[in-house]
Amino acid sequence: MKKTDAEMTWQDFEIGCIVTEPGSAVAYRTGDWRSQAPRYHFEYCIKCGVCAVFCPEGCIRPNKDGHFEADLYHCKGCGICVHECPTGVIYMVEEEE
């Protein structure tokens, strides 16, 4: 179990506080920030990948059906993808608690 910053002792650092695990930020659940979440009418999705290009989080990936879908672990609910989707697949709803 990785130590959080509040648990680390002075002996736990690499020299110069170098971080050796690339991309370790993925563990942080930015999805908790959301006040709105994306929903999909996948019947209109042409799998163009444009939404994935414009996501600031880089959390949109093809799902098991090949439709591009936001990973809600990281999705902050900005809604940029709604405007960029050429076929109007995506819409935002209020995030339930």
Partner: protein, 306 residues
Amino acid sequence: MKNYNVYAARLTPSAENFSPGHRACVGCGETLAVRLACKAIGNNVIISNATGCMEIVSTPLPSTAWRVPWIHTLFENTAAVASGVDSALKALARKGKIPDRGTKVVAMGGDGATFDIGLQALSGAMERGHDFLYLCWDNEAYMNTGIQRSSATPFGAHTTTSPSGKKSYGQHNQKKNMPAIAVAHNIPYVATASPSYPFDMMAKVKKGMEMPGPAYIQVLSVCPTGWRTQVDQSVIMGRLAVETGVFPLYEVVNGKYRITHEVEKLRPVQDYLKPQGRFRHLTPDAISQIQEKVKEDYAALKEKAA
């Protein structure tokens, strides 16, 4: 879709060398720019990053959003650190201490770190001809410290240190023409870009990577927090900046200008200013002033590119 099998967007590399989990604001245009740039620069790089939004949101100890080698030291020395890395790689490869992998140095900094406090270091690095690509994330103010003005802040914009008030209309000066300063150093490649035009941007980043010597690309980074725009409008705002001629997309290859995204008829500047809270206080007079300047500057650019 008879003859086209693939959507261009799908040709974008899927690896995220700037990983999710970073702490950027919702709808941050700058992170989108960084993320796309990372797709164009690939894995064989070393990034030297200035203090600023991107550095803070990506590297809170003990985690990092970076999947390529990355170093941050101070605010004003990105280009100097990059110079050191570049020289080290050259010396080590020449002396046979490391294999010559052709690793490219990429320096990244905000407009504050580039136009103001880091200008000296950037000028020095460009003059010395180091082999590096400098990416300036231009969100037009010191955003990470709470939206203070920089010399990249556009005329009339409200920031906390150039506020609009009873006796002021906001930023009094015109935005510093940083690409022109880069061109004046006679470096091989200078360009402006926007993540709202992702393929144009990634192509330019790739070009900057491939051309030996210094390259400078200024990327307009929409900041909903500082510009007071809706978080879902960041890509749309970037397009408006280009379509109104406020931020034209061009490149300068060995001193030769070329507009890479021609706009037939510029949209009125009002279309770009209206959705932004930082311009809300502008009088019709101020807006026409801005419109005139944009027209002038765009005409001058077209002349250079002729």
